[in-house]
C-alpha cells in the first residue's frame, strides 16, 4: 500500500481549505490526522475519497493517479472510508448493507459468495445475529460498526476513518479500538481523523497535524505532542473559543 | 406608435400582474422551503371566489371584492398548511422534500377536480371592473387588464412596504434567513410558516380575482399561470422578492415579443408559453440560482 500526496490545494469560494499538502504513507501505517476545527481534515479525507476534486496537486495510490476520481472508482482502487455522521442504508437490512459494496466491487462473484463474505465480516464484528435487521433499528454504535463492516467487505488496503469515536460510549470505543488494532496488525493502513486526543495519541504510530490547511507537524505522537507550533495552533483555537 | 413599443407596454402591463402571483410563490418558498405546486389552483379559486361573491352581493363594485376573495382563499390555505405542511417541520415526515412536491401536487389535483365537480367545465365570467379598452399603437389593452395591472402594482408596493418596514415583515425575513436564529429571538417559525403560506396563496387568489373578468374562470384556468410562476421565480431566483418582480417583467416581455414576432401568426399564440419554458429549462440547467436567488439544489 502506498499513498503519495503532492502539493494538494483546494479552495471553496474565496477560502483556501488546503494549501499545498504533501504526505506519503507506505505499508500498513496507522496515521492520526488531527488539527483544530476548520483546519481541513475532513476536506482532505473527502478529496482522497473522491467527493471533491483538488484544484491542483497529485494523489497516487499504489502508483495509480486517483486525483479527481469519482467516489465509487476510489472505492474500487482499494480505499474505504467511513463518515463523521454514520451513513448506513437505513431501510435496508444489515446483510444488504454489506452486499452493496461487495456486488458493486465485483458482481461476477455473485450474491452467494458476497453473502458468505458478509457473514465473515459480521462474525468479526460479532453482529451476525443482526444480519436480517433493518439498519435503522440498530443503535448508533452498531451502525458505526456496520459502516466499518461495509468498508471491510472489499478488503481495502487503506481505510479512512472520519471521527470514529465521536459520540461513542466508552465500552464501544474500546471495541472499535481493538478492531482497528487487529485490522492494522493484519496489514491494513489507516488514516484516522479524530478530535479525541487520548484515543488518537494512544492508537497512532504517526501523527499528522493540520492547521489552516497546512501540515504543521508530521511524526511520532510523543514528539508531535510536545511540538511548540502544534501547541500554539491548539491554544489559538482555545483562545478563539474562550 | 411603434409596434415594438406597443408590445413592450403590453409586456410590462402583464408583467406586473404576473409579479403578484409569482411573489406569492417565492414568499412560500422563501419561508417554508416548499414550491407550492397547487399555486395555480389557488389562483383559480380566487377567480371562482370573486365570481360567487359578486353573484351574492351584486351591488358591490367588483374591485372591492378582490381582497375579500383573497382573504377567503387565504383561510383555505391556512387550513391546508396546518393539516398537511406543518407535520413536515415537526419531523413527522420521512422524506420531506419529496413529500412537499407530492402533497402540493396532490392538492392541485384535488382542487382542480373539486372545482370541476362543483362548478362544471364551462367558463364563468364575473362582471368587469370597468368597461372598454385603451389603444396603444396597433394594440388594444382592455381597461380591465389595466385595472388589474394597476392593482397589482399597488399591492406589490404595499407588500414591499410590509416586508421591509413592519415587524411582521422583519419576522418573515428572519425566518427565511435562519429559522433557528429566529426562534432564539422568540419568533415562532410555525406561525410564520402559516402566515407566509396564507399570504402567498392569498396573492395567487387576488391575481385570479383580478383577471377573472378578463379571461373567465374554468377549473383549469390556473394551470398556465402556475407554470408561468414557476418560470418566473426560477428565473428571478427562488426566494428572492426583487427576483420575482424582475423575472415577471422579463417573462411578460418575452411572451409579448414572442407572440408578436413569431414568423407564423397562426402558430404564434400556441408557442407563447414555450419561450418561457425553454428559458426555464435553461436556467435550471445552467444557473439554477437564477438572477438574484440563493444557490440551492
Amino acid at each position: 500500500m502506498e499513498l503519495k500526496i503532492q502539493d494538494l490545494e483546494k479552495r471553496f469560494g474565496g477560502i483556501k481549505a488546503l494549501k499545498g499538502i504533501s504526505l506519503s504513507l507506505l505499508g500498513n501505517e496507522l496515521v492520526g490526522l488531527i488539527g483544530p476545527n476548520g483546519s481541513g481534515k475532513t476536506t482532505l479525507v473527502n478529496i482522497i475519497g473522491g467527493i471533491y476534486k483538488p484544484d491542483s496537486g497529485q494523489i497516487y495510490f499504489n502508483g495509480r493517479d486517483i486525483a479527481g476520481l469519482k467516489p465509487n472508482k476510489v472505492a474500487t482502487e482499494g480505499i474505504g472510508r467511513t463518515f463523521q455522521v454514520t451513513r448506513a442504508f437505513r431501510r435496508m437490512t444489515v446483510m444488504e448493507n454489506l452486499l452493496v459494496p461487495g456486488m458493486a466491487h465485483d458482481p461476477q462473484l455473485g450474491r452467494e459468495t458476497w453473502q458468505k463474505r458478509g457473514r465473515e465480516v459480521l462474525d468479526f464484528l460479532t453482529m451476525d445475529h443482526l444480519r436480517n435487521d433493518y439498519a435503522r433499528s440498530l443503535s448508533g454504535g452498531q451502525q458505526k460498526l456496520l459502516e466499518l463492516g461495509q468498508v471491510l467487505m472489499t478488503d481495502p488496503g487503506l481505510i479512512l476513518l472520519d471521527e470514529p469515536f465521536a459520540g461513542v460510549h466508552p465500552k464501544l470505543m474500546e471495541t472499535i479500538f481493538d478492531y482497528i488494532t487487529t485490522l492494522h496488525s493484519e496489514g491494513k493502513a489507516f488514516i484516522i481523523v479524530s478530535h479525541d486526543m487520548d484515543s488518537i495519541f494512544t492508537l497512532s504510530e504517526r501523527l499528522i497535524v493540520l492547521s489552516y490547511g497546512e501540515i504543521i507537524a508530521d511524526g511520532d505522537p510523543e514528539t508531535v505532542k510536545r511540538d511548540e507550533i502544534v501547541i500554539e495552533a491548539y491554544l489559538g483555537e482555545e483562545d478563539a473559543s474562550a | 406608435m411603434d409596434y415594438f413599443i406597443s408590445l413592450t407596454i403590453t409586456g410590462v402591463v402583464m408583467g406586473f400582474i404576473f409579479a403578484l402571483m409569482a411573489l406569492g410563490l417565492t414568499l412560500i418558498f422563501s419561508i417554508l422551503n416548499v414550491i407550492n405546486f397547487a399555486h395555480g389552483e389557488f389562483y383559480m379559486l380566487g377567480g371562482y371566489a370573486i365570481f360567487l361573491l359578486l353573484e351574492a352581493f351584486s351591488g358591490v363594485p367588483p374591485i372591492l371584492m378582490v381582497p375579500v376573495a383573497g382573504i377567503l382563499v387565504a383561510i383555505l390555505g391556512i387550513v391546508f398548511e396546518i393539516a398537511f405542511l406543518r407535520p413536515m417541520h415537526e419531523d413527522k415526515i420521512e422524506r420531506p422534500a419529496e413529500y412537499a412536491v407530492l402533497i402540493t401536487f396532490g392538492l392541485s389535483f384535488f382542487l382542480l377536480n373539486l372545482a370541476l365537480a362543483l362548478w362544471g367545465p364551462y367558463p364563468h365570467s364575473p362582471p368587469p371592473f370597468i368597461e372598454g379598452s385603451v389603444k396603444f399603437g396597433p394594440i388594444f389593452i382592455s381597461a380591465d387588464r389595466l385595472v388589474a395591472s394597476g392593482m397589482s402594482l399597488l399591492l406589490l408596493a404595499l407588500l414591499l412596504l410590509i416586508i421591509n418596514k413592519t415587524w411582521l415583515g422583519k419576522a418573515l425575513r428572519a425566518v427565511s434567513q435562519d429559522k433557528q436564529a429566529a426562534a432564539v429571538v422568540g419568533i415562532n417559525s410555525e406561525v410564520m410558516n402559516t402566515i407566509a403560506f396564507a399570504l402567498g396563496v392569498g396573492l395567487a387568489a387576488v391575481s385570479g380575482a383580478l383577471l377573472a373578468s378578463t379571461f373567465s374562470v374554468t377549473p383549469d384556468v390556473g394551470a398556465v399561470p402556475a407554470v408561468r410562476s414557476y418560470i418566473i421565480i426560477v428565473l428571478g431566483g427562488m426566494g428572492s422578492i426583487p427576483g420575482s418582480i424582475v423575472g415577471a417583467i422579463i417573462i411578460g416581455l418575452v411572451e409579448s415579443y414572442g407572440a408578436g414576432y413569431f414568423p407564423d401568426p397562426s402558430r404564434a399564440l400556441n408557442y407563447k408559453m414555450a419561450y418561457g419554458l425553454v428559458i426555464f429549462a435553461l436556467v435550471l440547467l445552467v444557473r439554477p440560482q437564477g438572477l438574484f436567488g440563493r444557490k440551492e439544489l
Binding site: K70, M92, V100 | I35, V101, G106, F109, F110, A281, L297
Partner: protein
C-alpha cells in the same frame, strides 16, 4: 423466523398465480365494454408501476413519465403513417424514441433534487405538449392523429385485451427481475443515501440514468401499444392532470411496490367506471385519497393494509424489536 417467512411466501405466490390466471381467463366472462375498462386499466397499471420503479424505488420523482408515454405513441404513430413502417416495428421505434428521451432527461437531471427535478420535468412535459399541439400539420394536434388498430380484422376486443394484459405481465416481470438483481440493490442504496452509495462503490450516475431510460421505455411501449388500441391520440394524453392521475394511482397503491402500484391503478380505473354516476366527484375522491395517503400512509394504502395483515415491513420490525424478522424482498 425464516420458516414463517417461507410459509407467508406461499400465499403471496399463490395469490400472484391466482391473479395471473384471473387476468388470463377474464375475457371468457366479461363483456366487451368491461374489456375496454380493463384494457385501459392495464395501460395505467404499466404506467403506475413503472413510475413507482423510478420514483418509489429509484427515488427520482419525475413528472415526465406521460411525456415519454406520448413520445412512444406519437413517434410510433408518425413513422407508421409517414414512413409506412409496419405495426410492430413502429411500436419498437416509438419505444426506442422514448428511451432516447429518457436518456437525455435522465442525464440532464442527475444532480437535481426533488423540487428541481419536478420543475424541470414539468417544463419538459409542457414544452413537448405545446410543440405537439402547435405542429398540427404533422401531428394533427387537437383534432387527433389516427392510427391503425392492433388487429384491423377483428371486431372483438379480446385480442387487444391479451396484448395489453401480456404487456403488463411482461413489464412487471421485467421490472421485478430488475429489482431482484443487483440493479435493485444499488437503486435502493442510491435512494437511501447517494453519497454513501458512491463511497461504497456504486456507479450512481450509471444506475440513475439506467432506471430513467428503462422506465421511459416502458412508458413508451405502453403509449405506442395503447395508442394503436384506441386508434386516435391527441396532446391531451399528456396533460399534467393525467400525470397526476398516474401518480395518484401509484401512491395510493404503494409507491415502493410495483405490484401494489399496478393493482392500485387497476382498482382505481375499475372504481372510476363503477362510480360513473358520481361524475367529476370521482376524481375529487381520489384526490382526497391521494393527499390523505401521502400524509398518513406514505407507503401506500394497499401496502399499509397488506403489511398490517401480514405484519411485514420495516415498521413492523421496529415494533417487534431486533429479534430477526422478514427480509426485505423488494415487494
Amino acid at each position: 423466523m425464516s420458516k414463517i417467512t417461507n410459509a407467508l411466501r406461499q400465499p403471496i405466490a399463490l395469490a400472484a398465480l391466482g391473479g395471473l390466471v384471473l387476468i388470463l381467463i377474464l375475457p371468457l366472462f366479461v363483456q366487451s365494454y368491461w374489456l375496454h375498462v380493463l384494457i385501459t386499466a392495464y395501460f395505467y397499471a404499466i404506467l403506475a408501476s413503472s413510475w413507482a420503479l423510478l420514483a418509489g424505488y429509484g427515488g427520482q420523482f419525475s413528472f415526465a413519465h406521460m411525456a415519454f408515454m406520448a413520445i412512444g405513441a406519437y413517434v410510433g404513430g408518425l413513422v407508421a403513417i409517414h414512413l409506412n413502417v409496419p405495426l410492430i416495428a413502429s411500436i419498437l421505434i416509438g419505444t426506442l424514441a422514448a428511451g432516447l428521451a429518457g436518456l437525455i432527461i435522465g442525464a440532464l437531471t442527475l444532480r437535481f433534487k426533488a423540487t428541481y427535478l419536478a420543475l424541470f420535468t414539468i417544463a419538459f412535459s409542457e414544452i413537448l405538449r405545446i410543440t405537439i399541439r402547435a405542429e398540427a400539420q404533422i401531428t394533427r394536434g387537437d383534432r387527433g392523429l389516427k392510427l391503425t388498430p392492433l388487429f384491423p380484422d377483428s371486431i372483438s376486443r379480446v385480442p387487444d385485451y391479451y396484448v395489453l394484459a401480456g404487456l403488463l405481465i411482461l413489464c412487471l416481470a421485467f421490472m421485478y427481475w430488475l429489482i431482484q438483481s443487483r440493479v435493485g440493490l444499488f437503486l435502493r442504496a442510491i435512494r437511501e443515501d447517494e453519497v454513501a452509495a458512491a463511497a461504497r462503490g456504486v456507479d450512481v450516475v450509471r444506475y440513475k440514468v439506467l432506471v430513467f431510460v428503462l422506465t421511459s421505455m416502458i412508458a413508451g411501449i405502453a403509449g405506442a401499444v395503447f395508442a394503436n388500441y384506441v386508434t386516435i391520440i391527441t396532446p391531451n394524453i399528456m396533460v399534467l392532470p393525467q400525470m397526476g392521475l398516474v401518480i395518484a394511482m401509484a401512491i395510493i397503491g404503494g409507491v415502493e411496490s410495483l405490484i401494489a402500484a399496478a393493482i392500485g391503478a387497476i382498482l382505481i380505473q375499475i372504481s372510476l367506471e363503477l362510480l360513473r354516476e358520481f361524475g367529476a366527484w370521482r376524481m375529487v375522491i381520489f384526490g382526497a385519497l391521494l393527499i390523505v395517503t401521502l400524509r398518513f400512509a406514505s407507503s401506500g394504502l394497499l401496502t399499509t393494509i397488506f403489511n398490517r395483515i401480514f405484519k411485514l415491513g420495516p415498521k413492523a420490525e421496529l415494533r417487534k424489536g431486533t429479534d430477526g424478522g422478514a427480509t426485505d424482498d423488494g415487494t
